[in-house]
């Protein structure tokens, strides 16, 4: 228990202690009731926090499940480097589900056009890997404050044998009593950070001294602007003629596929400065930095129905 809780008075938990206790409970429940769980680890801040929670939940024993990265092939090199280092430190097994392999095998077709991205293609790689490895539970780092379809999702979110989410037919979720039963081929997506907000995640990173990939902090980067989003200058994005590259001080607020993740202008190099900027911002993290959610009001809901994270 942290000092924050002690400051509150007897038998009260601070919000971070409360959220941590809930997430740890959820992880132990999964480890107890499923045969083959996996933790989806992208190297983004939410999955980094999940991995930290998993270490704490089973300590001093090792984390009893592997982690999986759905690799679009369009990654920030800093993030891949970070991923490999964390995996080595924790000693977990890493499974990589490759979108590139799916494309090469002709299982999915690369999108074309201005906002072509491999984001949506991740669903197919994810579902295939779940099937291939027989995973019956997959931890995801999604939070309900991120997006309105996610606000309705359960902590234990059932997926049918096609990996699909049926938002109108969700299992009622009462108290802390989770229904974990699935038939063969079905699985549950489990979201231990459901009740965390973006600021809770940052507050926890600060409190725990959790390390993050360098791109979360201000750095100089060659970027260009498209529809108000600052994209990196990289061979995997085709620029149009009027889209000029310039160098700017930026940091990332979310980390996903390079082709659809925007940077924000910032000179914040330390955690406290980053948190101060995020606390003051008037734009949501997905709205500011994710092109994938701009497609329509229901973009996230539609992707989630198909089996997206």
């Amino acid at each position: 228990m942290s000092q924050a809780s002690e400051a509150l008075g007897r038998y009260q938990l601070s919000q971070l202690d409360f959220l941590e206790a809930e997430a740890i409970y959820v992880m132990r429940e999964v480890a107890s009731e499923f045969e083959r769980p996996v933790l989806l680890f992208s190297g983004g801040k939410d999955s980094i926090v999940m991995l930290r929670l998993a270490e704490k939940a089973f300590w001093p024993a090792p984390i009893p499940f592997p982690v999986m990265h759905v690799d679009t092939g369009h990654n920030f090199p800093e993030v891949i480097e970070f991923r490999d280092r964390r995996v080595a430190e924790t000693g977990v097994r890493l499974v990589v589900a490759s979108v590139q392999e799916q494309i090469d095998a002709g299982k999915v077709t690369e999108q074309t056009g201005r906002w072509a991205s491999r984001n949506r293609l991740q669903t197919s790689a994810l579902l295939e890997a779940i099937e291939e490895h027989g995973f019956d539970a997959a931890f995801g780092g999604a939070r309900r404050d991120e997006e309105k379809a996610r606000a309705k999702e359960r902590i234990f979110s059932f997926r049918d044998e096609f990996g699909q989410w049926d938002p109108k037919n969700q299992r009622p979720e009462l108290w802390n009593t989770y229904n974990t039963r699935v038939n063969r081929g079905e699985n549950i997506r489990v979201f231990p950070l459901s009740n965390w907000t973006e600021l809770d995640v940052w507050g926890y990173i600060r409190r725990e001294g959790v390390e993050l990939p360098s791109i979360y902090f201000s750095h100089r980067r060659r970027v260009f602007e498209r529809d108000g989003i600052l994209l990196p200058d990289t061979p995997v994005i085709t620029r149009e003629e009027d889209e000029e590259v310039f160098e700017a001080s930026v940091r990332y607020r979310t980390v996903g596929d390079m082709t659809c993740t925007g940077a924000v202008r910032s000179t914040a190099t330390g955690l406290d400065e980053v948190i101060a900027e995020i606390a003051a911002t008037r734009i949501t993290e997905r709205g500011q930095t994710r092109a994938d959610d701009r497609a329509s009001e229901a973009a996230m809901e539609d992707r989630k129905r198909e089996g997206y994270f």
């Binding site: 601070s14 409970y25 309105k148 009622p172 009462l174 108290w175 229904n179 009740n195 709205g287």
Partner: protein
């Protein structure tokens, strides 16, 4: 950042102003971002509405946006310097009773909205009943749209009296009445100048200050064993014999040195240490997730319970409970065979008897009822294949509540609140 969390549920009939109220709480606490507001303004415009309809902020799913109603529980988050809040935004229609029950199960407080012009409705009574059935410790009757009744004290008092009379039939521990205008913001964040006769707090002030620390059971030690931590490290003398019992405290306060009893064995031992990954703790209480090390080697596994020698839960295979039935396709009848999940224990169960079905609007007991169908509530007698370590729901929501699962479909088909376990 050292604030605690208050979880609350909101319930109201359609058009009582629930979405407007939540939109306002989020907006005034600066939890609404510009891009969200832009999206709402755009949608409001295409619908031909003036300004931004804050109610749109809270409608999550496509189907709900199309039909303009709330179908499922949605969770919302906001914080003030005093507290962090989790809202379970639950739908009002009777066909969504199960969603309201779900939202209420984890709530510290429930806000029941009524329209000042219409007064108490059948639905308001039902919402109040469900909140008390789920033992939500604090209730607020929010009388909304006071602007439409000229901020009349008389009207407010009338509704207050009517509700108070009804509430005597319920098991209400803490009840507050607040006159509001969600649309104009009266008494939502700031005390309203339009109602000088009202001397209570604004709604937000009430939410920030209601005392919840003593709502959790700090008396009866209950530690359902969730997971056994065994590092299996032959090379490490420290960890070689390590056996930790991990779980989330469901009641009472545990301390190192305490004498405890293991159920079902009935064997006693002492707690040697209480651990988290951050080190040892001096005491553990609900809802902390901790790992217990015990002095003696007892065979303990998931689903077992640790308690104190002179304060034990009932160890029983016969359970008398209120059930809220949640299945669309199947009915509960005497003879129904199901799976029960209670704390960390899962077992099979058969419905012995349906004692009565409750009319949730009138609270009338229908003793000749033959079954329960979707959204119906009744009292049943269950026989479990293995003993449960159970308390009355009134005494402890975590060791008194359970879910029922259909073995064929794996669907969660019922929520149970134990009335008697012996």
């Amino acid at each position: 950042m050292s604030t605690d969390i208050l979880r609350f549920a909101t319930a109201g009939s359609v058009d009582d102003g629930k979405s407007t109220l939540i939109g306002r709480l989020l907006f005034d606490s600066k939890s609404i971002f510009e891009d969200q507001l832009d999206a709402v303004e755009r949608t409001s415009r295409t619908r031909g509405e003036e300004g931004a309809n804050l109610a749109l902020l809270t409608d999550g799913l496509r189907a709900e946006r199309e039909q303009g109603i709330t179908i499922d529980v949605a969770y919302r988050y906001f914080a003030t310097p005093r507290r962090t809040f989790i809202i379970a935004d639950t739908p009002g229609h009777i066909q969504y009773t199960r969603n309201m029950v779900t939202g209420a199960s984890t709530s510290d407080l429930a806000i029941i909205l009524v329209d000042a012009r219409k007064g108490l409705q059948e639905q308001s009574r039902r919402h109040a009943f469900l909140a008390t059935l789920l033992q939500v410790p604090h209730l607020v009757l929010a009388v909304n749209k006071m602007d439409l009744v000229d901020y009349s004290q008389e009207r407010f008092e009338e509704i207050k009296q009517e509700f108070s009379a009804f509430a005597t039939k319920l098991d209400v521990t803490d009840l507050a009445f607040i006159p509001l205008s969600a649309l104009h913001g009266d008494n939502v964040v700031e005390r309203s100048l339009n109602m000088p006769w009202y001397d209570g707090p604004s709604l937000l002030h009430h939410l920030e200050n209601v005392h919840i620390a003593s709502d959790r059971n700090l008396i009866d030690v209950r530690f359902p064993v969730q997971y056994v931590v065994r590092p299996n490290r032959a090379d490490d003398p420290e960890l070689h014999d390590y056996r930790g019992y991990a779980g989330q405290v469901a009641g009472g306060v545990l301390k190192p040195g305490d004498e405890v009893v293991h159920l079902p064995s009935g064997l006693s031992t002492r707690i040697s240490r209480i651990l988290t990954a951050d080190g040892e703790v001096a005491e553990a209480f609900s809802p902390m997730s901790v790992t217990l090390l015990l002095e003696d080697d007892i065979d303990i596994s998931r689903g077992d319970m640790i308690c104190r020698p002179n304060n034990r839960p009932n160890v029983t295979q016969d359970v008398d409970a209120m059930i809220c039935w949640m299945s669309e396709s199947r009915r509960l009848t005497p003879g129904s065979k199901l799976v029960v999940k209670h704390t960390t224990r899962t077992a099979k169960v058969v419905v012995r008897d349906l004692l009565y079905r409750l009319d949730v609007n009138t609270l009338h007991r229908e003793e000749d009822a033959a079954d329960l169908s979707l959204n119906e509530i009744g009292r049943v007698n269950l026989r479990v294949t293995q003993p449960l370590f159970a308390d009355e729901y009134k005494r402890n929501r975590l060791t008194g509540g359970f879910i029922l699962i259909d073995e064929g479909t794996n669907a969660t088909v019922g929520a149970g609140m134990i009335v008697r376990a012996e």
